[in-house]
Symmetry: C2
């Protein structure tokens, strides 16, 4: 037991990785009864609560926009921990600090902007991010809101010409925001100069809505209802020239538009830059939720009795293979994704060198893969927890709905995966067809067998083979897709058609395969440098991650002749074995997730018997029972 | 267009299958504004609404417990349609009419019981079903509630000795039920005679709770909050001898217990019989929800514009392969599962001959497979609908949470699949090892190639090959598992250990494979006898169902040497082709789901632009906007 505590502590340090004090600060703060979850409360209560909680967090200075300059990982870490306690507060925080605050920090270039900056940390100024429009959610570059410059008054006139161009889904917009960073086409001298960002006051200090601004509450959502999402319209609202954000575009003394960025598309990408860090904020919330959900579910499964050998209820469901085969791969993946996210946070913070393209690939991939993963973790944990998982008080539902939000917010997962693949292909574009051809699938078996000479699964599952197998899949799909696309071009067909109508499976699989491989290679390196006491355990976890990835992709390996039928069977057999191995360490791994008991108020984590020994009405605190 | 309307009408008749008037009656009733969905309302409003809606349905006599005797399919049909409108009302209905009413109808054997029967249809008597106990949800046979007979007073004393034995999750219990059918161990002369069912009044006419009964509201759930679930305890409540249900067990004049059923386990199964029809009720709700969700999502995807060739928003997302590969297999499966459910309903109603075991296999399988399927349909449709899918008003959330309820209610899906496999194995148990051995996996390739002589995928994908491929998998897994279990026994190890610790994947796969095959064979027969005008379309749908099933199980076919690498590639290619083929008929198929516009109030089905042109607060009716 001493040993387990020691190992859990070591593992936790590996997972927590950075900003230990901030983590501890947040966890300590969550002892405050304000953070006890409440369920059957009206939507306006839920929203008030989310703001109050966020206020407590900022009052303790546990997050600051200045972190982006000195310690960006701290922002992501805060998202992970706050997300475990209240997804709504975390989402309000991500808009306030990353989308709103981060944009202002990066692009604020004059006195007006800088003055607003200082009130962000304290929530004295609450902001929102007006990018998405109802009609252009999947094609922001086509947005219709305009900011037309009037050289006489030196003002912009902000206008949403129709319903489809209203800003939509704007977090913090319905109730709490004083400012909105509005994205609009900058029109000057009847010329459209592309999308720019403007700092626009939408409410005064007393939260009275400014003239010309119409704000409609979007109402009830399938989850995280503590967020006040709005539809916002601007009816010829005048804003000062100073409202224009960024130092790349400006209007000179003569009223002429100037920009250091030539392409309109690039001007848009410049101002929408915070979406990238936003994706790491979401990825952090997702990993936090996965750890939280698994911790509760696995602890419950260890106590929940079902039919034993003699028909009595004396065997914990955790012991059953059905449970282990469903949940242990999720546990191993969560652990490995966490190590990978730590690495990606370091890349973002420039602690690890990477090109801009590599950063984009990693941030987009992490957001997509971790959100999808969290959806599966939450759904499977709910299912394997039976009826208890269906009670709101046990918090599986929040994880399901939260993951759905993560899947499509700040870029639809599948579209981000397209972006990842596009960038990966871009890195290959200078290679000749001959080089790419090496990987062509009709040459795979012999090529592959050469590179794996003498190494067989029935011997040892070496790290190097694991890596080779995942890398080989990624490389092959990448090359095949590259060749197919090159051929299309040479045939005079369009890449657009090939991309959208014919290669969708391959595009998605490429991005996934890249991320699968990248995660394994990050974990591999991590393990090698880890403290020797935890190396064997990390190795086992990583191996189950690998085996589970192989099982998911088994038909690819078989169809492409990489694995023989016997090797495939061996992998399945090994995977079953490792599910058992990891199950023996599952509680230890959950402990390493470092979530203190006072944050795990779910009755099924604690004691469903005592929770159900009185008229609880499904609530944890008395005040919520009085509906 | 005329042609499409004609075909849709024909297809709808195939899907609707029975009780056309009841379907129409319900659909017409749903024009009543009471059925307009409301979202941000307090939980007690939601529950009141569910009861009011159910009351309207019964007032129109659109369901009756007598249907079980004359037309059981009508009950299931009502579940399908009511579930599309309000999952909570449908769940309250299933407890009132199937679990409570159906049990009373089947087991009511004296004047007391018969008198109550007549008030069920009108809801004058509302009932609930007290089977599950907090501590014994997965092992009801171990329940602790007792009904102890006192020969002096000729009464039973009903008692829940502790928290774990409180009746739990009892629908209709928290607010509306007058009666509870309580399952308890019958104790007489200090002998436990096994679990029996008792008709117990828990509230009087004015809904005042009876003495000794404690009812606690379970509060907020992750979905279908219109249901009033309760935890119910009995503190030495006296009930008359007449309360005992069923005519198999009785207490004679001398106060001696008698039963025509010898085994205690069988006495329990006798009284818990309604779980079987209950599973068809759930399966019906699930198929209704899948059709509803797909109809809304597919229609929206046909209107939702995204980036086209030139960067403008002028191409509907429905046209993209990403969309079609995700949603078209779901559409085809839903269609085929619906035909299969129609068949199973006929089996239940004895219109098609089947043994009791076959009935159990089909009902358990249908509930599990359709609930899992609905979860995938709802989650994928939500995801592919982006932000709109996240608004409660678009109803994707209800389908997700509803499916989660379906997955573990009235038997955890995975446990039901274990039951299916157990029954399938039971049917094989008299076969010798030699016969079973024919299928042994190391003999598969030659055996299989023999049976498929000369038939190749690159020629034509005949119906008979499709059937053979699915049947072969089922037979092989069945035989392999049977042999493995026989060997375990002969080695002196226990079946329990092998079943719970080693063969879980195989057990689950067997049940799924059986159902996959059964669905295809039902659809195959249906197609052959269908009107010639719809035969080609049904064939295409069925083929996509088959191809999608093959893709899911591809690694099995490859690992077991049934398919060559080229055949596997051919299947994937064909599946892509059929996704395209079916996409061209997708709106027609949705139309055949027969859901009238007044039931599809989701803004994304209708017109998101006009819905968002005013301050809707996420609600469809004005009354709900005033929070």
């Amino acid at each position: 037991m001493q040993n387990d505590t020691y190992l859990a502590h070591k593992l936790q340090k590996a997972l927590d990785h950075d900003n230990f004090e901030t983590r501890e600060g947040l966890k300590t703060l969550f002892k405050d009864s304000l953070f006890v979850p409440r369920y059957s409360i009206p939507i306006n209560e839920e929203r008030k609560l989310a703001l109050q909680r966020l206020k407590k967090i900022v009052d303790k200075k546990l997050i600051s926009i200045m972190d982006f300059e000195r310690n960006p990982s701290r922002i992501f870490t805060a998202h992970e921990i706050v997300g475990q306690m209240d997804g709504s507060a975390a989402t309000k925080m991500t808009v306030q600090f990353n989308l709103f605050g981060g944009t202002l920090l990066n692009l604020g270039n004059n006195a007006l902007h800088k003055q607003k900056l200082k009130d962000i940390d304290s929530l004295k100024s609450v902001g929102c991010f007006g990018l998405t429009e109802l009609g252009y959610g999947n094609n922001a570059a086509e947005m219709q809101t305009t900011a037309t410059y009037n050289p006489l008054t030196k003002e912009f006139t902000l206008n949403t010409p129709n319903t489809l161009s209203r800003k939509y889904w704007i977090t913090n917009g319905a109730l709490h925001a004083h400012y909105c960073i509005v994205f609009a086409k900058l029109i000057i001298n009847n010329e459209d100069e592309g999308i720019h960002a403007f700092l626009v006051p939408i409410r005064d200090k007393n939260l009275k809505i400014k003239e010309g601004v119409s704000i409609w509450d979007m109402g009830h959502k399938i989850g995280i209802n503590g967020i006040d999402n709005a539809s916002i319209g601007f009816n010829n609202v005048k804003i000062s020239k100073d409202a224009l954000l960024g130092n790349t575009s400006s209007i000179n003394e003569k009223g002429k538009f100037e920009s250091t960025i030539i392409k309109k598309r690039d001007r848009f990408l410049y101002v929408a830059d915070r979406l990238l860090s936003g994706r790491l904020c979401i990825a952090s919330m997702m990993i936090g939720a996965s750890k939280y959900t698994l911790d509760i579910a696995i602890n419950y499964a260890n106590k929940r009795l079902a039919v034993g050998k003699k028909g009595k209820s004396d065997n914990a469901i955790f012991n059953f293979q059905l449970y282990q085969r469903s949940i242990m791969p999720m546990l191993a993946k969560t652990f490995c994704y966490n190590l990978a996210l730590n690495y990606i946070k370091d890349v973002f913070a420039n602690k690890i060198k990477a090109t801009k393209t590599e950063k984009i690939i990693l941030c987009c991939g992490a957001k997509a893969v971790l959100a999808w993963h969290n959806e599966r973790v939450a759904s499977l944990c709910r299912e394997r927890s039976g009826g208890q998982g269906y009670l709101s008080a046990n918090r599986m539902g929040e994880a399901i709905f939260g993951s759905h939000s993560g899947i499509t917010a700040e870029g639809d997962n599948a579209v981000l995966m397209q972006k990842v693949s596009k960038e990966l292909l871009g890195l290959e574009k200078n290679k000749s067809l001959t080089i790419l051809g090496h990987y062509l699938y009709n040459k795979i078996p012999s090529f592959f067998k050469q590179s794996l000479v003498g190494i067989k699964f029935n011997k040892k599952l070496k790290n190097s083979i694991q890596l080779k197998l995942l890398k080989f899949k990624k490389d092959t799909i990448l090359s095949t897709l590259a060749i197919d696309l090159k051929n299309v071009r040479s045939k005079g067909a369009t890449i657009y058609e090939e991309w959208m109508y014919n290669q969708s499976d391959e595009i998605q699989l490429l991005a996934k395969s890249y991320f699968d491989y990248k995660v394994l290679s990050i974990c591999d390196k991590y393990q090698k440098n880890a403290h020797k006491d935890i190396q064997p355990l990390i190795k086992d976890i990583k191996t189950l991650y690998f085996l589970s990835t192989m099982e998911t992709n088994m038909s690819w390996y078989l169809t492409n002749g990489v694995l023989s039928r016997n090797e495939a069977k061996r992998i399945t057999k090994l995977s079953k074995k490792y599910c058992k191995t990891i199950s023996q360490k599952a509680l230890l791994i959950c402990k390493a997730f470092g979530i203190p008991d006072h944050m795990k108020l779910a009755p099924m984590y604690n004691d469903i018997e005592s929770f159900n020994s009185f008229d609880n009405r499904g609530e944890l605190i008395k005040e919520s029972r009085n509906w």
